[in-house]
Point group: C2
Chain length 310, copies 2
């Protein structure tokens, strides 16, 4: 079954009371909504407008990816300060539209308003998946293997750099994992089609927190092997991030998923590296096995956006 | 065909990367999103938290009503100042949930964040309508009759009172059209089922502006009879509002629609009063026929939220 064109899914876009979407017969509808707030999720002096738009849409697309879904349409609501230059708004939409085009997602609506303070964006992405096929957080069982796509910690380590060098701007293209993260849409769809995953979440809040969500929803525990976690690399020349960022740093928008032990997992899927990082266990809570072999509790200590400053 | 229970439409609510909705076979999906911003759409000193929540959801439901759709689920994203009392948040959700229950709409998700300034809410409502049946703004033709539900101007006249008596609070239950407007969901569905309407919009921006939207999307003009416009009544004892509020004041969330001349329009539909207020004409622009018989151009002068103060 081929992917339908955006035009087949968006029957009516901007310009009426509602947009009208059409899903394939029997498909279920996926809905996700996320704020991107100035000073909380981005700063104008750190993030070019195009990066803000890109990250805004990437957050929503990543939630669709985490269900193994196909994105149908995006809706961006923007509240803007009266003093904001039009150039910024244009740059923002360029960032949104470029990423949207990459995944054949139509920008089908939204709202605009004047903001009392700062730039406020709310992204809604509507997607679809065949009935009963969306991959939930709740399907992990003891004995399942735990996997993650790509590498972790790059986005948070970059943010840490921004904090530690407040006066110095970073060049976005040297730090793509933070400024231009790519949601794992295709990967998620293959997992869903192949029935490889028993549960899935995206790493928007950080491994320790997102794994805790899977454990909580599934009623299980987990054990993670620190030495197995694929560390992100940032800057030029690229250097590996501190493991703490990979354990707790968010906004990488990778996929964290579990698989029955019987599944033969490829090393790459849809061109994306897959790494086994642990096991689902009975009981509750997550243990971290250090490189020394010593085990300790892994507390959910997920990324609080810009927590240092607030 | 009976209305399905909320549980049949929301397969998976809050607690995963996405919510999962299920529409009836062959239905199209309606999506609407609207901001409600403190200082722009409401003021904490004027609007009780329950009214803010109610109005927030009413805005979204009214957009579904304006397509003749059936609401499936609502998503409320809230960014809140750190200092906001929990009591306010509880009151807000009570307002949302009470209205949601009235229309059997499940609150199926959303996002929360800390706001840098003021309360920011974004409401998303997902609805459905049979394929091709949603009523658009673009279907009006010359000769069509123009109708409106209920009465107009009550919400804007109340807001005007709030401005003119800044020190004095109004008692919300004496001014329900402003504090607790009821979206015309059932009315819209009957129009769609009976194929009574050739075009429709809700009066969120005010008659003159919303009629201009219909004319623009349909490529037609219009003539409105001032003496026919049903004026809202506010306060106790109730008194009729100034016609200017009915012509230009927004947020009444009534339905403005057109119908072919051949349709026999009932005086009430689903218990709601229907009033004929004019005709669709050839050409562009809207003429207002005054009570004196004199005709003048009706400029779109829709309600700008809280425009006096900004």
């Amino acid at each position: 079954m081929g992917r339908s064109a955006a035009a087949d899914r968006v029957v009516l876009g901007i310009g009426d009371d509602c947009s009208i979407l059409r899903a394939a017969t029997g498909d279920e509808i996926l809905v996700t909504t996320d704020f991107s707030l100035e000073g909380v999720h981005f700063r104008r002096e750190w993030h070019p407008a195009g990066s803000v738009g890109h990250r805004c849409l990437a957050r929503g697309l990543s939630d669709i990816a985490a269900m193994g879904g196909e994105p149908m349409a995006a809706f961006v609501s923007l509240a803007l300060p009266a003093t904001l230059p039009q150039r910024w708004v244009d740059g923002f939409y360029q960032g949104v539209l470029k990423l949207a085009a990459q995944f054949k997602v139509e920008l089908a609506g939204g709202d605009t308003a004047q903001s009392p303070a700062g730039i406020l964006a709310d992204i809604v992405v509507i997607g679809s998946a065949p009935k009963g096929a969306a991959i939930r957080r709740s399907g992990a069982r003891p004995g399942d293997r735990i996997f993650v796509t790509g590498t972790l910690g790059g986005a948070a380590a970059t943010l840490d750099l921004l904090y530690s060098n407040e006066s110095k701007k970073l060049t976005p293209k040297k730090y793509p994992s933070h400024f231009f993260p790519i949601p794992q849409i295709q990967f998620g769809q293959v997992l869903r089609q192949q029935k490889f995953a028993s549960s899935m979440i995206d790493t928007s809040d950080g491994l320790s927190t997102d794994l805790a969500h899977i454990c909580e929803e599934s009623g299980v525990g987990a054990e993670i092997w620190e030495s197995a976690i694929p560390l992100g690399k940032i800057g030029r020349p690229p250097r590996a991030v501190d493991p703490a960022f990979a354990l707790h740093g968010g906004e990488d928008y990778q996929l964290l998923f579990t698989s029955r032990a019987s599944v033969h997992m490829p090393r790459t899927i849809a061109g994306v590296q897959v790494t086994e990082i642990g096991r689902i266990t009975r009981g509750t809570g997550t243990l971290l096995q250090r490189s020394s072999g010593k085990k300790s509790k892994l507390k959910p200590d997920g990324w609080q956006h810009f927590k240092k400053s607030r």
